[in-house]
Amino acid sequence: MSSATVAAAVLPNRRLAGTSPRSRAWGRFKRHRLAMFGSGVILVLVFAVIFGPMILPFDPLHIDLRHRFAPPPGNGHLFGTDQLGRDLLVRLLMAGRISLTIGFMAMVVSTLIGTSVGVTAGYYGGLVGTVLMRIVDAVLCFPSVFLLLALAAFIKPSILTITLIIAATGWMEVARVVQAQIKALRHRDFILAAEMLGASGRYVMTRELLPNAAGPIIVAATLTVARAILAEAYVSFLGYGIQAPTASWGNMLNNAQQYLNSAPWLAIFPGLMITLAVTSFNFIGDGLRDALDARMDLT
């Protein structure tokens, strides 16, 4: 006898009156400590990159050759300065703007693409579904770093193009998750009931199916932000991404390579920022996965 059977037989119906699926999910999310920690970190990070550069008395592009390589915390430069004497903290925050923006935008674009492909493939199934999902498989087979670099080598790098390139290599995971969820829901009675009313395919997909796939989509989207931040760091680190003097966490790392022995903080701080942002988003994703677990609502 499986433990699920026991639990189903034993546990009294947990019927929380007067609650929407959303508020119950929030209740579960709040109990997930790491996810709450991650959310806090991201919140602080977002505030810092927006308001930090306004408050700090340094210009990220201001070169001050007298104070090159000031180790932290030195001379009012909390995180030290780089090889051109620029304040590292302000540069980190400005780079954070770029990296987070690219992360969020790439997430939005790849979630839109992935969701559309996934819903269409899951709903229609058959030939349409098979062809779409084989395309997804084909793109997935291609090592995304090479795809990323190949595309970046041909296209003039800017925030927009980098975003699109990252989105182009990151939508497949969402598509697979959504397709699996839609396919599982496709033949449930409530979908049949809607079709029995003469509902169009578009109605069934957007009104009936999509809200039930919202959980997995949100989870996948959160993890996509983490992936996109990492991808941006890759590309910029290898010199194909955001170009100097504009800072991104990736190109700051790239820049720090030469001074790894003499000024290790130049590498440590951007690395920490990337790690912090990526793990935080991953924690949030984990928390959301538990909180939005469709099984908790469908039964």
Binding site: R15, L16, A17, G18, T19, S20, P21, R188, D189, F190, L192, A193, A194, E195, M196, L197, G198, A199, Y203, R207, E208, P211, N212, A214, D297, L298, T299
Partner: protein, 340 residues
């Protein structure tokens, strides 16, 4: 709407509401890489349902009764045969052409948990038929009619704000019934509407269904494996076995004078809530044969205690034996036990 305008239904108001003619519903699986398997879920089924009539459809799981219910509603594309609804042949209509007819034919599902979208409020669920069928409908009208529908099924207006998970099985089934009736349809397929419910709730839901039936003068195809409920609710009963109707008659005739050995066995297997009436049952041997490889001739012969060699030769036709009673059995010499 334009389709309706092009082909106005020839309204023979006295004819049956639903006519099903030599209906076949096959399902294929495999094909490209694996061997193609064909399940003949419904095979050569012919029957009619008169206006305002309740036809019961009974049989074991795997008999094809649910598939038949869905086929007559054109949820699926028919393999062969015709379904004529109110004089109009709907067998080959496309999804779009069927849409206006959907307002007149509805369905109630067995599982009150799977048939309601967990992400929608009760008001959205019951209002969906109105919105889908009349895209221009006003919000206040939807609310008013949803409220009416909820009160009719014994719920309150205020329940419209809630989500399905806040309701018990019986209440959810009422919500499903409200959704089916909000458009005031003519024809309803009720697929095991009470079998997932507790006994004390079953009776409530059956009574509710019958009350609404009377109010709307509904025609119902009542699919159930519970012969006792069928006996109480239905005017006529069709018995299915492995995709075919093996006997059909008005309820009294079928219960008092069954003529197919399978009908007899079904009745005999029903446990009776009276310990003094423990009977010698007619135990059927084994299970339903696989629909992938049905036995030759009469499909029931492998479990039939009256089978003779001739039963294996040909599929017995569903033959009239008088008074609207039809049976598909070559043996006319049997004295079968009645249900009551």
């Amino acid at each position: 709407m334009s389709i309706m305008a092009l082909t106005p239904p020839p309204i023979p108001r006295d004819g049956p509401l639903l006519r099903v003619d030599r209906l076949r519903q096959w399902f294929s699986s495999g094909g490209f890489m694996s061997p193609r398997l064909t399940v003949r879920a419904v095979e050569d089924v012919t029957f009619e349902i008169g206006r305002g009539e309740i036809l019961g459809l009974v049989g074991e799981s795997g008999s094809g009764k649910s598939t038949l219910g869905r086929a007559v509603l054109r949820v699926t594309d028919l393999t062969d045969g015709r379904v004529v609804f109110d004089g109009q042949d709907v067998s080959t209509l496309s999804k779009r052409q069927l849409r206006p007819l959907r307002a007149r034919m509805q369905m109630i599902f067995q599982d009150p948990f799977a048939s309601l979208n967990p992400r929608m409020t009760v008001g959205q669920i019951v209002g969906a038929p109105l919105r889908i069928q009349n895209p221009g409908i006003s919000r206040s009208e939807v609310e008013a009619r949803v409220g009416d529908a909820l009160r009719t099924v014994g719920l309150a207006d205020s329940h419209a704000e809630r989500y399905p998970h806040e309701f018990s099985g019986g209440q959810r089934q009422r919500i499903g019934i409200a959704r089916a009736f909000v458009l005031a349809p003519d024809f309803l397929v009720a697929d095991e509407p009470v079998s997932a419910l507790d006994v004390s709730i079953q009776a409530q839901v059956v009574n509710l269904l019958m009350e609404i039936k009377r109010k709307l003068d509904l025609t119902i195809l009542f699919i159930s494996h519970d012969l006792a409920v069928v006996g109480h609710v239905c005017d006529r009963v069709a018995v299915m076995y492995l995709g075919r109707i093996v006997e059909i008659a008005d309820t009294r005739t079928l219960f008092r004078n069954p003529r197919h050995p399978y009908t007899e066995a079904l009745f005999s297997a029903v446990p009776v809530a009276d310990p003094s009436r423990r009977r010698q049952r007619i135990l059927l041997k084994g299970d339903l044969p696989s629909p992938l490889a049905p036995p030759s001739g009469c499909a029931f012969r492998t479990r039939c205690r009256y089978a003779i060699p001739a039963c294996a030769e040909a599929v017995p036709p569903l033959a009239h034996i008088g008074g609207g009673h039809q049976k598909a059995c070559i043996r006319d010499d049997l004295a079968l036990q009645p249900a009551c």
